[in-house]
């Protein structure tokens, strides 16, 4: 399930809903991205997330399908917020459910790594003097690139 929304999400409710009633599921892995306070000097710590409506959903579906093709997953949830967020606010939830933990844990990391380099979102950090667009980090590219070679080994 893919959702792109302004509103806050309820992690507990989303995890309970993930694959509800599917008794093949033996484990659920999740990642919650949170706004970190990186404010220096005149920063306020708040940020605004902009995205490309249409392409965002399309890329998230693509990323989800890629995970489904690589791991034996029973359910996937990706929720990404946009709009103005403050330190401590959740930005993104990735959750995966599978019969066994390795597939759930590995695919969860794969999804957040790919999302960070593929999904068209941009962060603008507020400051008293106006603010600035966050620059992409090369470490994110490295994190995503390792999945382009590695074959998943979903252990029983």
């Amino acid at each position: 399930m893919i959702k792109v929304q302004r509103e806050e999400f309820d992690v507990g409710a989303e995890l309970r809903a993930l694959g509800r009633g599917n008794h093949n599921i033996g484990g659920i892995a999740s990642f919650v991205g949170v706004v970190r306070n990186t404010a220096e000097q005149d920063g306020t710590g708040a940020m605004t997330l902009e995205h490309y409506p249409g392409m965002t959903e399309r890329k998230l579906v693509e990323i989800e399908n890629e995970a489904l093709s690589r791991w034996p997953l029973d359910a996937v949830t990706i929720i990404h917020r946009y709009g103005r967020l403050e330190p401590g606010d959740p930005i993104v939830l990735v959750a995966t459910a599978s019969a066994h933990r390795a597939a759930a844990l590995e695919s969860c990391q794969f999804l957040i790594d790919w999302l960070k380099t593929e999904a068209p979102f941009w962060k603008f950090e507020e400051s008293v003097s106006g603010g600035q667009w966050v620059e992409a980090r090369s470490t994110d590219d490295v994190a995503a690139a390792r999945w382009s070679k590695k074959k998943p080994e979903a252990a029983e």
């Binding site: 490309y52 399309r58 960070k116 941009w122 667009w133 620059e135 992409a136 980090r137």
Partner: protein, 83 residues
Amino acid sequence: MQLLYFAWLRTKIGVGEETLDLPPEVVSVNDLLHWLSGRGERYAEALNDLSLVRVAVNQEYVGLDHTVGPDDEVALFPPVTGG
């Protein structure tokens, strides 16, 4: 052609979207970026360093040699920073 700009490309160019009629010599993404750069200072500054510009045609990432046409939706934006 429908053009969309996001993040600092939007703020530097000054609009989020616009519809432009392209001259016939604009065939590729590379042609388009160079033609846009010639439309004024704002465009020239925004497109000064193409290593910082990502391009999507009809919501798919493409390279500089990708062909573009009048019915395409072309988006220009910096490397993504979500998650």
